[in-house]
Amino acid sequence: MTEPIIKLENIHKSYGKDEILKGINLEVREGEVVVIIGPSGTGKSTLLRCINLLTMPDRGRVWVDGVEITDPKVDINKARRHIGFVFQDFNLFNHLTALGNVTIGLKLVLGMKAGAAKEKGEFELARVGLQDKAGLYPGQLSGGQKQRVAIARALAMDPRVMLFDEPTSALDPELIGEVLEVMQKLAREGMTMVCVTHEMGFAREVASRIVFMERGVIVEEGTPEEMFLRPRFDRTREFLGKISELYGKHQSG
């Protein structure tokens, strides 16, 4: 059995008196696509942010690629280079072009020369179908295009794993498809992915595993088939039923 790429052990996080995460354990193996679902305010995004320590857990340990990144001796900036993160609201750098967004990490963090960075940046933009938008600024792109640039920006760093925090929730319905398509392609190419999403069509088709979280704990996890067809808990069934009804309509299926 190979070592998991991500291993979370007993993760706890509180904000003030609210305990958001109550001891989460999770392992993700190479090439897996793990989809985290659950009601809002359940701690899904917080959990995702604990994987690259954008949020520091109060307790518990995180391993990425065999390195315990919660170890204070570990340089977190170095560890983050190879953990791609995609935000709900894109967070593209507004003062940089699409290409500038993709290359700034290459130049600044990986120390790549301008020419090589440009070449790599153009390759990554082509990968998300935006080679002809390289010179445009975020303000000149649609939501779906922005999110694809954000994915290209993360991919350029050659991540070992990609984390997606509700990547389609801020998009108009007609723009969701183009982003999901890119994510599906990534999954097919064997990228290890952890996605927080309400897109049940995506979860059903692409996930190797679905994790259902509620009130800071993992209630149940299993393959899409197990989760959709024979969940062990009523809560899981109830939630999946409700969410599929709500979000199922605009999905390719």
Binding site: G84, F93, Q140, A154
Partner: protein, 215 residues
Amino acid sequence: MEEIFTGLLPYLLAGLGVTLAVTLIALSLGFVIGLGLAILRVYGGIFAARVIALYTLLIRALPHILMLLIMFFVIASIVNLSPFWAGSLSLAIISGAYQTEIFRGAIQSVGVGQMMAARTLGMTRTQAIFYIILPQALRLAIPGWSNEAAIIVKDSSLVYVLGVPEILRRAQYYSARTYEPFTAFIAVAAIYFVLTFLTNRGLSALERRLKIPGL
């Protein structure tokens, strides 16, 4: 009439260098103070934030002319400071306080998501501040900063209380000598107007040039 062009204007314009020097020193040094302190105020932790908040509060609570007098008569009695430098440095310290607030507001209006996105790529906080936050914040700061620049152009006249021969001081000498306060002060008013006008025009042009497409 001829006297205006042969006597008054050359006499006033000889002080223009002083006015410009005081303005430039106050604004540029104030820029360094303001930007530095704004960064510290936002990212430097609670202790730095408190100390800097106290500085900006204190400076903004005092009449500028009083600050100049304190700097000159209290501080210049301890260290050797010419009236020109006492005036310019006081104005820099005053402007620094206002500029701190201008840059703090600009930095804070760049969304927190920008910092987060930079850190997820593996940038250090310092890299994120200098390559992601400041390029956006400085653009946002231009309108507020042009306002401050216009104020400092005019406040440079305050150094006249320390006896620095800038244009207002010279206008006063001139009117005392010729008993023509009207011509002297109107001429000085025109000079300030031109300076302020050019400053604002220049900064507006800069703002347009640096505008981010699509925003």
